[in-house]
């Protein structure tokens, strides 16, 4: 065994070298020196990487997370309070015409973050308005095949646990969309009684509680679901409760 091979293998894993490496080191003092040096360096490296002060309250904070999550109380996170809030606050300031009404909240109404999220969702309807109009007008009667629907769902890290129910409800549109930055969502449109019903599944931070969104044309509802949110948006007069009942228990996250 030459020195380069020996060094390569020792450096790749100094603490768990094979028998043939040990034998080579014993037979060749130069290789033994390399092994000894590598192990000494590894001790320093391990010490350095492990010698990180663990925040004293971290364990208790982590142990408390389930209770806080299950009680629907917002989990204190600086990530949510900085990046998300800043983004959504900015979005909210740009979109003033969208009306948001709380259906059920624990604290009197949607937060600024949720309000802005609702605004983004309504805005997205107009991004896809040609397709919505085509379905509502009955000019698009095509049906997306189930594997294609599943692929779109998979890209958003989600899936249906039961696809049978979709067979009676043609999926006219299925597309991965980015409604808010960096969050891949699955956007489906199914044929409703009054036109296209948009079904959006997005793996972003769950909203605190269900709330409705609306504008002059559309009504919608944002439903928190464990890892993310399910959003249903249809034309006025569409019975979204019917679709909520169908989709809510059939969507699951893949991570």
């Amino acid at each position: 065994m030459d020195e380069l091979e020996f060094r390569t293998r020792v450096y790749a894993n100094p603490t768990d070298v094979d028998k043939d490496l040990l034998e080579a080191a014993q037979a060749e003092p130069r290789l033994q020196t390399i092994l000894d040096d590598a192990r000494a360096f590894e001790a320093d490296l391990q010490h350095q990487l492990q010698n990180i002060e663990i925040p004293a309250a971290l364990a208790n904070t982590l142990l408390d997370l389930p209770e806080r999550a299950e009680s629907s109380a917002p989990v204190a996170s600086k990530l949510a309070s900085t990046s998300f809030f800043q983004y959504y606050a900015m979005a909210a300031s740009l979109v003033l015409a969208v009306g948001i009404a709380a259906v059920l909240t624990l604290n009197g109404g949607p937060s600024a973050t949720e309000t802005a999220f609702g605004a983004d969702l309504i805005m997205h309807m107009y991004h896809e308005i040609n397709e919505i109009d085509a379905i509502t007008a009955g000019t698009d009667t095509s049906t997306i095949a189930m594997p294609a629907v599943a692929q779109v769902m998979a890209e958003a890290e989600t899936q249906f646990n039961d696809e049978e129910f979709l067979r009676a409800m043609p999926v006219r549109f299925a597309k991965p969309c980015v409604i808010i930055p960096t969050y891949q969502s699955a956007h489906l449109m199914v044929q409703g009684s009054h036109g296209a019903v948009n079904v959006i599944v997005i793996n972003n931070s769950p909203v605190n509680s269900e709330y409705s969104i609306q504008d002059d044309r559309f009504d919608g509802v944002v439903v928190p679901m464990n890892e993310g949110n399910l959003i249903l948006i249809g034309e006025k007069d569409e019975n979204l409760d019917e679709y909520k009942a169908l989709f809510e228990d059939r969507v699951e996250w893949t991570i």
Binding site: A12, D37, D44, Q48, L49, I52, I54, P66, A69, S83
Partner: protein, 176 residues
């Protein structure tokens, strides 16, 4: 070995608590070196364990819990950096434990090594962290990082070589 089950108990709550107890320190250390910020590391660890709690039923094998948790963490870190790139102040040495009583003999300056690790490119630092802090084998690291095993072993070799070169402890030619 990293495939030792770290989850115990019958209820979801018990399983989660054993997961926290077994891994939160390693997860925090790994996160700190990954994002180089103690406050950010705390947030990321919380996000990771919250997601783990919500997905605990999807964990197929308790033996895979550690790799599963580190995968969630890496994904959370990627999400964070996709949507939010904080201005990090230079915090070199900030989170290093103050207690040096049990420190081994100073064969090298701690600060130099700390800085050298921080300067290591992520493609070399990540497998090194997973091996040294996480205790993962080359095969496990390959699965977590979605690389082949040979690439992982090469990167581990280069990671240590680069550190040694920067500390002037080794004359290995990385282009060899």
């Amino acid at each position: 070995m990293s495939d030792t089950p770290v989850i115990h108990g019958n209820t979801k709550q018990q399983r989660y608590e054993s997961l926290v107890a077994a891994l939160y320190q390693d997860v925090f250390r790994y996160t700190y070196w990954l994002c180089k910020s103690k406050p950010l590391a705390e947030d990321l660890v919380q996000e990771t364990f919250l997601r783990a709690w919500r997905s605990l039923e999807s964990l197929q094998s308790d033996k895979a819990a550690k790799a599963w948790l580190f995968t969630i963490l890496r994904r959370e870190n990627a999400r964070l950096y996709e949507r939010y790139r904080p201005e990090l102040v230079d915090i070199e040495g900030q989170a290093i434990a103050e207690n040096d009583e049990n420190e081994p003999d100073n064969r090298m300056d701690r600060e130099l090594l700390h800085n050298a690790i921080n300067r290591l490119e992520s493609e070399y630092r990540e497998p090194l962290l997973l091996q040294v802090i996480g205790g993962f084998s080359g095969k496990e690291i390959a699965e977590i990082l979605d690389l082949n095993n040979n690439t992982v072993m090469t990167r581990l070799f280069r990671a240590r070589s680069k550190l040694k070169q920067e500390l002037k402890l080794d004359g290995t030619d990385l282009d060899e």
